[in-house]
Symmetry: C2
Subunit: 719 residues, 2 copies
Amino acid sequence: MTAQATGVAEEADAVLAGVRAEVRRRRPGGAGEGSARELLEPLGLPFVAAEVVDSAEEAVAAARRSGFPVVLKAVSDAVLHKSDAGLVELGLGSAEAVREAHHRLAGRIAAAGATDARVLVQPMVGAGTDLILGWVRDPAFGPVLVVGLGGVTVELFRDVARRIAPVTATEAHDLLRSLTCWPLLAGFRGAPPVDTAEFCELVARVGELASAVPELTELDLNPVRISAEGRCTVLDARAVIERTAEAPSRQSAFDLGALARPGCVAVVGASRDARRPGGRVLEALREHGFAGHVHPVNPAGGEIGGLPAVASLAELDHVPDLVCVALPAEPSVEVVGECARRGVPAVIVYASGFGETGAVGKELDTRLLAEVAGSGTIVCGPNTIGVVSSHHRMAATFSQAVRGLPLHASGTCLVAQSGAVAGSLVSRELADGYGIGDWVTVGNQSQVDVADYVEYYAGLETTRSVALFLEGVPDGGRFRRALAAARDRGVPVAVFKTGVTEAGSRAVSSHSGALAGSGEAYRAALAQEGAVQVAEMTNLLEIAWTLGHTPLPAGRRVAVVTTSGGAGSATVDLVDAAGLVPAVFDERTRSRLAEVLPGFANVDNPLDVTAEGAFGEGVVRRAVELVVADEGVDLVCLVLTSITGADAVRVARQIAEAAAGSGKPVLVSWLVARSLAKDGMSLLAERGLRVFTEPARMVAAAAALTSCLASTHPRSACV
Amino acid sequence: MTAQATGVAEEADAVLAGVRAEVRRRRPGGAGEGSARELLEPLGLPFVAAEVVDSAEEAVAAARRSGFPVVLKAVSDAVLHKSDAGLVELGLGSAEAVREAHHRLAGRIAAAGATDARVLVQPMVGAGTDLILGWVRDPAFGPVLVVGLGGVTVELFRDVARRIAPVTATEAHDLLRSLTCWPLLAGFRGAPPVDTAEFCELVARVGELASAVPELTELDLNPVRISAEGRCTVLDARAVIERTAEAPSRQSAFDLGALARPGCVAVVGASRDARRPGGRVLEALREHGFAGHVHPVNPAGGEIGGLPAVASLAELDHVPDLVCVALPAEPSVEVVGECARRGVPAVIVYASGFGETGAVGKELDTRLLAEVAGSGTIVCGPNTIGVVSSHHRMAATFSQAVRGLPLHASGTCLVAQSGAVAGSLVSRELADGYGIGDWVTVGNQSQVDVADYVEYYAGLETTRSVALFLEGVPDGGRFRRALAAARDRGVPVAVFKTGVTEAGSRAVSSHSGALAGSGEAYRAALAQEGAVQVAEMTNLLEIAWTLGHTPLPAGRRVAVVTTSGGAGSATVDLVDAAGLVPAVFDERTRSRLAEVLPGFANVDNPLDVTAEGAFGEGVVRRAVELVVADEGVDLVCLVLTSITGADAVRVARQIAEAAAGSGKPVLVSWLVARSLAKDGMSLLAERGLRVFTEPARMVAAAAALTSCLASTHPRSACV
């Protein structure tokens, strides 16, 4: 940076610091247009000119100075929505009109009891497109900028885009382009395009303000009118001031090696009773052939599950890498203290009854953290169902979901805030032959949090994708850095987020507040860090597996190959609705397909080989080969119907052979009951092709794959 | 009707007939504002005043008569989008401004080569809400009325509602209320509500016009400005005239008794080779224990599949109720002719190669129809996989989908335009223990069409719901009458419709045309007749089964009971997003739940009994009983996670016991791999409770159930 540039930057920082100092001097609460203008004045934002007047005659004089027609507004911190209260008088074309309007406003001010009200005279601003620019501060992620179609109807149509501050002007432009109303600016119905540079710069500056003044928890500039020439004028503003304490974001990550890949595990509370958690954990460790040492710990000693038990950790002649604490909450805290003192690197605390249950539990949480403070011991949980690794053949869990299904490794890693859901989803992956790599339930994340797990597991050689069942994170900044670390390693992250619809209980006083709830903040954060948000719970592991085990497509052009015309056209509907593009086959592909499928009227996309056609020798292989080879096809989606039994295996083999080495993703949905085509489906799983039960789920996975391309459209990462 | 009212109605009809006569005199093509006004003039619609002028001075004189400011427009049938072409000059406040505008318009008219152009002078109309009112004619359903937020951005925001004409003023009001922009009229931000009576009457009159003048294939009144007092002014109009031939709607229905419940079936083309259709049909008939007579027909005679074959139908000493023709296309036509001559009541033609393949096939279709004309013989197909009835233990099909799975009757009847998809979906219902009643694949519906099947099967005592996999119908009116007949019998119809997204290839010249494609016409027709449109293909039979076998809820208040907090909150998200209402438990329920679930902090909705809690004796039964009994709960959605093996059976039994006789719908989603909880899931199926694999699919079914309530919101029937 040059000395001059540094000077400019320092000056800008000083201005922001000045604004912050002024904000801190103000009383918390809503700030109407008058106060907001005053606060933001040092920034030189392009507010419409305004003159404060104290009488009808002053208003007339001001109107003459600015030129008719004018607007009269009464501004008050007690009335944030002026239009609703009748405190805005538009289009006053004469002195008489101004006088009458002033008189009406005076009456309404008195009626509203707005003792702080002042009357402003503003010129009418020429035509343009009205946008909203503002933010609301999210507890985890900080200021969520909102850009959208403005005016009083903004909450009705909700045509807004969001991004967590700061944003660059280029990113602001991407936000604008993602709006439904973008065509209004891009050259609507023959008009020349509007130059949005000034607006995008304004977004960037407002983003800096949002980051620099945490006490401004909400701001609306609404409308910002952008003229045909691209000039911006802020016509109205409001803000909310709060006393906030910013929680610092933790920079360091925990090393989870001893938790994920322990050589020696002790189970405290090990039991012979397989219905008790300690019994189940021990049994799970043994069932899946954990190769390391396992030490049951039980005051009664003796032998448990065929292993010699020790009465306490003290009796072990070495320090285990991982201690699984399968005891109630209170005694668990004591054992964790003992672990910390002995230098155990990792502990899992299964017990519930901690912070999730209220005040008494929170006290236990505090004690737990105190026990490990400064010790180097990491704690998974409490209130977790545990940690499993197929790579390490370790199931340190009491979950029923992995009982009876052999572990089978894949590159998918699951980090979950719901152990019950996680176990169920894993059981499906195992039952369908896709497998799972590592999975952990984070529990209350009292110490190690979601971000630590994501960052650590994404860094392992065995991990090809991460699936995240997410409720919420304590530290948004840290979470974003973890997602960025995964992205930088080329490890895609698929996320199912609960709590996406707002309960709407939070009182909000700005438009931005109403438009950017917590679910939206997560959505923005995930999109910004390139994570893929998944719409259906049970689609999470399917999509994560697909992202980790399927070639990335070069584009969005999808070919649909099917044994049913009806299913094919329905799937093209889905492709279109997902923002993907139905591929157009080239002439050579079409003529060759016509040779393979003689007598078929159509060799178009969707390509219907028909169930009868699929019985022909090599027909499916040849058809898929030709479609995959077409340069206009980036991705192939197959929809199979009632191909069953030995036919299922034959057709599956042909598909696998045609897809192998093509470098293009081939996804399959197979509609018939699994029991009728099980061997065919298993063959596809073994050959690394994903089978979906429903075309809509397959297309969601296809959309997820394409969203991993360099995306210019922030909405595309939501499937 | 009084003589006077009759007179008024006759007069109105005469006016409409006059408009039609005038439309038929015009050249087909687009009609701009000028022509559209002329055509519609006899109706007395509230068009803004307008004066045609031939010079700038005439324009000034007209402006003085109407009062400044005025609008100048150049209207031409060659330029339907005047604004885009710069042919509208707004807000002209002085004689000079009018002269200059006239000059500019003259230049642009010349530039556009619009030789028919005329210049209109209109007064500026006061503020109001701009709506669009129009229609586009659908080939199957006729005029689809479009009502929505108007102006030039209408295609951008697409805030429109649709209904097939005619509509009453009350129905028009429902359309308005379903719009996103409805709050603008309902009393926006403190303003008094707008009286929409005049607009709704206008919608009804425009609907009459649409029905009366089929040659007007598209009409836009856009905008129709509705003032704060509810006065409507039509500011612009355009229309499209075509020469159309209206296909008459068939009033009569076919009696399908011999097809659905035959006593005696002959299979022509019966074969010993189970890979050939004739072999498969015979085998399927025998496998499922058809109790009637089956006669293989094969020129070689002998015994086929253990049955004595005849060489031809002529050799039979009686007329079979149903003849299954498993031959190629050409010989099939001949056999159909023979059947017609012999008085066979019903024939199934499996062969493809008819109308679906092009000109030669269409010729075969014509011959087929000629063979049965006037004979009383009904034809299922051609190009069908056949007809199955679990009630009648008859599988007259060559589908692989029912091989190896015993037929199991339910009240669900499936009518499908895709045999391949139908077979697959049925196989799932059989594999999961829910069963299927009748199912038919309609094939090319050359004679008997979708509507006939829906109406006939909905009329059977065995049918409790109809599932329809729909591509398209030849006769929209007949289809609507069939849906209405089902509705009037209280038989819900669930529909999966392919082709819902527009290819967009059709050239459209009006806004209404762009806003109401064929998919939208079906959506409107289904909603109008109370059918439930299903979003996912594989959700179709699940939802149909649920509609037919579950009590209807009294309202929309949903309780979520779960073994996983994470899954519970995600499901409440879904409930909210589906327009259902999360129930609030009453105090008594809460305190009793607290006794059943001691130590749980929350006894709220969603109710998390936890996986551990579910292992407690009778906990799930008691919890579900209490929730079901709460008067604030209309419907219960359970989400189970990793409850497996014997626990699965125990928990399933408790749920079934708690739900039994409650009269309230209880739906279950169970996330664990089916193989781990198979017996529990089967128990629920046996007890009449539906198990879904994904909460989103369960909530879609819940929404479908509530949409069968008396619905005031036309969108609610889409899940």
